[in-house]
Symmetry: C2
């Protein structure tokens, strides 16, 4: 693209570094900002910069937090002996939205993926193993996505904590509530039959 | 969405003000920035702010420019007596990419659209009419999109300059080069038959 302005070109180039934002979309977004009051751009760029410079990660679970301990870890009503292992903060938000979980989290920050250059040392695994070693954890719930990378990560962590006295579970895979069986994929349907639960259990719902 | 950090929430909220960016996408983009070096966020926010604060519009054609006159208007080899009227700077870039046009532009900054609260006074129409009045313009080429708003805008401008001695043209509508007739919409195909051109003319191409 041939820009008539260096300033515009810079802004478009930086914007298009974001994932899923191509040059055309970046140009559309930047031109939108030009039509809005200057204040909007100021607020946007200030909020991004503040966030990047000042954001903290919870010492205990690596969740994003403005304080040393995140709200969940700091809450005495949450059960610290149950730890749900997730990939990133969006999973924490998703599980919190269900209001069905009262334990703690442990945010890995990704999945083991040699293809993308992500090994175990890039993830928050050591602190999780330490937590298990210290004896405060009774149950580890694996809640990574069920992809090859997710399974690898689960298994890697499992091997590290196997020797310690801790229950390991994984979230149930099955047919989504409301979905029709005939459209479900075979793997999911197969697992949901293998892992069937007592009927009475399905009656206690949220 | 329930954020564990105010800083994160602010950044996501500001980001999701952009057109076509919802809260989920905004969160994805912001989390991506968190995984990148701080410098990337700094460069992004600085480039946006610089652009918004310092960008200029060409005095003559309202194109975005870092100088008082844009490169096109300042270029003595461009024909100043032919003016192509476009909606925004992206149209200038698109036409420039064809290398087929040697005249000047006039960027309106939008189309007349009462539904969106855009009237003639919000657009750069007065300066165009002044330009025509001053007698330097011999031909006005309308190159707005052929929507109701585009047609309204064309007609509004046409009425304003009708009294002056100036040729008004509009870019050709027709079947895209390489397209198959059977898939073309009827209006376009109809126009391309009505506005057929001498066969020899089609031989001189870029």
């Amino acid at each position: 693209m041939d820009f008539s302005s260096k300033l515009l070109e810079n802004a478009v180039n930086e914007m298009s570094q974001l994932p899923g934002i191509g040059k055309r979309t970046a140009l559309r977004l930047v031109l939108h900002l030009l039509k809005q009051p200057k204040e909007q751009t100021h607020k946007l760029s200030l909020s991004l910069q503040n966030m990047r410079d000042e954001v903290n990660f919870c010492e205990n679970c690596h969740n994003i937090s403005d304080t040393k301990l995140c709200e969940i870890c700091a809450n005495p009503n949450r059960l610290s002996h149950i730890v749900c292992v997730v990939e990133d903060i969006r999973d924490v938000m998703a599980i919190e939205n269900t209001s069905q979980y009262r334990g703690h989290y442990h945010v890995l920050g990704g999945k083991i993926s040699p293809m993308d250059g992500v090994g175990p040392s890039e993830l928050n695994i050591t602190t999780l193993v330490e937590k298990v070693k210290s004896g405060v954890v009774e149950e580890i719930i694996f809640a990574l996505s069920s992809t090859m990378e997710g399974d690898t990560t689960n298994f890697y962590i499992f091997k590290q904590i196997e020797a310690y006295k801790v229950v390991t579970t994984t979230i149930a895979r099955g047919i989504s509530v409301g979905d029709e069986l005939e459209y479900a994929d075979e793997v999911t349907l197969g697992r949901s039959i293998l892992n069937r639960i007592p009927f009475e259990n399905s009656l206690k719902s949220s």
